[in-house]
Point group: C2
Chain length 209, copies 2
């Protein structure tokens, strides 16, 4: 009953595009509305505030990231460790496309908002914390699998290792955005697997060298 519209979705997509390529505070409600072809009154009909729109936008990009990247990678039947390479390749391609069509490497939507808003908006901070946790779990499953297969040594700490990998990927992306150069992701990406080997191996490698 009553009428329907896609104003809500339009606004969320505008938020993803505009806030994603600039920043939360650099984009106003007005611009969001203009981009979505909507009047400000409609905005506040659907969202109590810009913050709430952003929260929903975060939900959507996380869902999309899972559907378009994480799931395809982890459901694919390449060898366990190759999954990390595949994830990195997809990330590179995405950032590369971004640069081709906007002139800018936009980086990671989660990392971007995390650094801008973590100290100012507890709800947004918490949501991104949860997203990073879920992402880490994805990685952890692969690592556990790799240990089971004997590809990684049994002393491997899957929780610590997967978190280190998420950290490294975010750091790579931060540097890539700063240099506005997706190639950075290619170069740095080659280092991820090193985070997999346990500390014991590290010590061995050192004494062996």
């Amino acid at each position: 009953m009553g009428r329907t519209s896609d104003t809500r979705e339009n606004l969320i997509n505008s938020a993803i595009e505009l806030i994603g390529t600039r920043s939360y505070n650099a984009v106003g409600v007005q611009e969001l509305c203009e981009h979505a072809g909507v009047k400000k009154g409609s905005f506040y009909h659907f969202f109590p505030s810009k913050r709430d729109l952003t929260l929903e936008a975060l939900d959507l990009i996380w869902r999309k990231f899972k559907e378009e990247t994480l799931d395809p990678v982890f459901d694919s039947n390449v060898s366990t460790l190759d999954k990390f390479e595949m994830l990195l390749r997809l990330s590179y391609e995405h950032q590369s496309d971004m640069k081709d069509c906007t002139g800018r490497m936009t980086g990671c939507g989660f990392g971007n908002l995390a650094l801008e808003l973590s100290t100012q908006d507890e709800e947004i901070r918490k949501k991104i914390e949860i997203i990073f946790c879920e992402w880490t779990k994805y990685m952890e499953i692969v690592i556990v699998q790799a240990v089971k297969e004997g590809v990684l040594p049994p002393e491997t700490d899957p929780a610590a290792t997967s978190q280190a990998m998420v950290a490294y990927i975010e750091g790579m992306t931060l540097l890539g955005k700063t240099f506005n150069d997706p190639c950075m992701l290619k170069r740095l990406g080659e280092g991820v697997l090193q985070l997999c080997i346990s500390r014991k191996d590290t010590a061995e490698a050192h004494s062996a060298g």
Copy 2:
């Protein structure tokens, strides 16, 4: 000749404190002035724009970071690889202090501004790019030294490795800020050294395990 004042320095320090704990766009010229105990007219007597203030603030925190952290670490006479541990310890302590006194882990001033402004302000982006390059050079020197001492294998690629370490440190810090938990730096910090060992070692460790 003419009179002197510390208004300029006050404004730069206010920028470091306010923008450092919140974000560039979340802090206005007005608030900057109030915090520095200065009228807006004075602001524009010293700085053509808020952007220019920020550029100078970046210069200062980079200089301070070198003087208070990088130089002490790299001039100290601990073993080469222990220098990385020392750097991480100092970073942890700094973020821990921040959390104790503001309730928030503020993260890295360079990373914060890089993600917020890289797509919007080319001059600020470029400045942070240069800072990251210089920081990487610092790390590279230690790695070259470690290779010379035989602590790291001769196949080590110092440029790639040092850049990977900077990326990893930025990623750690991003995650730490997101979780608002300095302990994250302690846990993740233990993984840095793994980025030192060359790809060849990684392969060996895998086949050995």
